[in-house]
């Protein structure tokens, strides 16, 4: 069953799948050949280099079957919560309740890429006045209106305050169409004044006690809404167990990152690592299965490292990547250019940190929500990026701008300046649209130049 680790095309996966089946591969209910997703419109798969392991097969199938899973949950009487913007907090509350699942409508931002614009979500968004000057997450608005990519949630929540204006504006447009939203506030995270009590947050940032208390109050409103939806109370014991499960996911991801980023030969490509990391914020709507998927992936990665196997050459340049890409194919491109991912900040590094389990659960979640890198100063985010890039021995940093995202207008410069002055590393800033084919030659040239610069001795 264990072929030598490598990246293969979707065509090659057809043969590989037959081989695995013949070898006794046992799959979960959502398993099957990856090519079937192309028939459902996920044509970007045809242009990707994919990991050849059964663990990666399971990961892709888990990701691409979320819509079916949500329909199943609804059919079986589960309540569905659409968690917008908030990166990792509300899903923990939702999954702590029986027969409640949460998903992340913002995830629709990848649909124009994965379906290579065939789904007309951006056009639907255009028709509502949300045009291409907004972040590609506007695809979410189109998905709601067309009603064909996820079930309309029973409850919609959205965090606002110290968030991107583009997302907040799109969510407001959604509400104006009749989708009621529970808004909750994440204020800008600042340092405590001299006269204030300071609290250390997961990840090492600090905030005044008063802000933590305020966010705790906001999360209590969310908790009450979820209890009402579920028709049963969410007590601290349930919440504590929910946090423990979330921490299990986070621990698996931290270990996966550690093993991958420190291995002498890259054991798992950037694409699968990106997908895996994204699971931290919403569990792809099935927390239990999410844990199983990550466990299998980690086992495979450890096996490869132990056997000295990898999917890339041993001399690939170690790159730290900032922000998620709207076109996932760009992760392949980096590797084709001679890079490998050895550190990431995909906007939710706080969702990889352990949630304190020695605190009252709501206090712990409030601290976590405030630790969101987007809630604070870009300098704070840059400091964490520098710390992690140093720790993992990165040789270069790519800041990948998200088109139209309000935070990308100025934070790239702040991060680049910090990386250059503190680490002396080359930094490249690029912008990645949902389909990057038309700018691929230029992206390739720029990434190759970065890799060449970073890989040069001295």
């Amino acid at each position: 069953m264990h072929a030598r680790a490598r990246q293969i095309s979707l065509d090659e996966w057809a043969g590989r799948y037959e081989q695995l089946r013949a070898g006794g591969l046992v799959e979960p209910w959502y398993g099957g050949p990856l090519s079937r997703h192309v028939a459902h419109g996920d044509t970007r798969l045809l242009h990707l280099r994919l990991d050849n392991s059964p663990a990666a097969l399971r990961l892709w199938n888990f990701l691409l079957s979320e819509e079916d899973r949500l329909k199943e949950f609804r059919a079986s009487g589960h309540k569905i919560v659409g968690v917008m913007k908030d990166l990792g907090t509300t899903p923990i509350l939702a999954f702590a309740l029986p027969k409640v699942v949460a998903f992340y409508p913002d995830g629709a931002w990848w649909l124009p890429c994965v379906m290579e614009m065939s789904t007309a979500l951006l056009e639907a968004s255009d028709a509502l006045g949300i045009d291409e000057s907004f972040c590609p997450v506007r695809a979410m608005l189109g998905a709601f209106v067309k009603g064909c990519h996820f079930p309309i949630p029973d409850l919609l929540t959205c965090s606002v305050g110290a968030t991107c204006d583009d997302f907040s504006a799109i969510a407001q447009r959604l509400e104006a169409l009749g989708y009621r939203i529970l808004w909750w506030e994440v204020p800008h995270r600042r340092r405590a004044d001299k006269s204030e009590l300071a609290v250390t947050l997961p990840g090492g940032f600090e905030a005044p006690r008063s802000l933590v208390d305020f966010v705790g109050g906001e999360l209590t409103r969310v908790r009450q809404a979820l209890e009402e939806l579920a028709g049963c109370p969410l007590d601290d014991a349930m919440l504590t167990e929910g946090i423990a499960q979330a921490n299990r996911v986070r621990a698996l991801l931290r270990e996966l990152r550690e093993v991958c980023f420190t291995a002498s030969i890259c054991p798992l490509g950037a694409l699968e690592m990106l997908i895996a990391e994204m699971l931290a914020i919403h569990f792809c709507s099935d927390r239990g299965e999410c844990i199983a998927v990550l466990e299998e992936l980690l086992t495979e990665v450890k096996r490869r490292v132990a056997q000295g196997q990898g999917v890339l050459k041993s001399d690939q340049v170690r790159v730290f990547w900032v922000n998620p890409v709207a076109d996932i194919q760009v992760m392949n491109l980096l590797e084709e250019c001679g890079g490998r991912i050895c550190g990431t900040d995909y906007l939710f590094c706080h969702a990889l940190d352990e949630i304190p389990q020695d605190l009252p659960p709501m206090e712990a979640l409030a601290r976590m929500a405030l630790a969101d890198p987007m809630a604070g100063a870009a300098q704070d985010r840059a400091a964490r990026i520098c710390r992690d890039a140093r720790r993992w021995g990165c040789q270069a940093v790519v800041v990948s701008r998200i088109p139209g995202a309000s935070h990308c207008a100025s934070e790239g410069d702040v991060i680049a300046e910090a990386v250059r002055s503190r680490l002396g590393l080359p930094v490249l800033e690029i912008e990645v649209p949902p389909l990057s084919d038309s700018i691929r030659p230029s992206l390739r040239t720029r990434l190759e130049a970065l890799i060449e610069t970073a890989g040069r001795p001295g």
């Binding site: 000057s133 991107c164 204006d165 504006a169 447009r173 935070h407």
Partner: protein, 323 residues
Amino acid sequence: MNSVVYSDAFVPAELIAACGLRPLRLLPARAAGADSSAVSQGVCPYAHAFMASLAQSDAAAVIFTTACDQMRRSCELLAARDHRPGFLLNVPHTQGDGAFGLYLSELERLRRFLCEVGGRCPTDAELIETMARYATARRSLLAARSRFTGRQFHEAILAVSNGLPMPAPKALAGRASDGIPIAVVGSPLMAGDAELFDALERFGGHVVLDATDSGEMALPTPQPDPQPGTPALESLARSYWHIPAAFRRPNDGLYEYLDREMAARAVRGIVLRRYVWCDTWHAELGRLRQRYPLSVLDLDVSEPFSPHTLTRVEAFLEVLRAR
């Protein structure tokens, strides 16, 4: 007297004045020439111009708010580029009791900051007296609204907000007072941008509602005199808390205001004036068009007031006249 620049309507000028400092709502000058490269990289022209204008200002300190993401981040840029102290006022986007409590505590923090940058800590009586003075000036201003042209009124709002005497209205230009009633809504203006009002009135319109973030809509709601025992700062916070704004979530208050005021002033056309990358206002365009059976002119004014814009304004008024 040291001046303190502030960027947004949710910063109470009265508080700055009560601390013995001069409030200065800075409407930035367009940063000529420097705009294009930054704006093409996604920087809001207003935020860019605000930072450029600060360099020309001798203000002792600068107050930003979190009402807009790019301005929130501009406060951080100030710390990196400028020796002057900056203060970022957390203005909640939601409007529950907890959010009001946060806003009030932020005003308390602002008061401490103002004392640290050269102000004096006002007593409640001093703050109440300053609030009353501002309230009187605003009442006089609103009572005189019909005597001003659109541009004059916008400039008078700025003057009163900065604690200056209300300028005397000059004679109405041409036929403005019997022109087609227009509402201008959207982002705050930059210095000189009130030319838009002149253009609207020159082509036969009459700006009866300035619902921009630097206009009449952004004036605080007059509050009754503070009840005995109610801290003056809380009363001040309440008057600013209900300013209608596009960034609030939900922003129903904005539409309640527009519904009420546009009906009262028989508005026949709406001009949405916004900056490229201002997602907050841009996203309201579709809603304005759906909600009101009126013509809506969308002006993306990333460039200085151009002949192209002027032609669009003229055509807009022609269409309205024909209806």
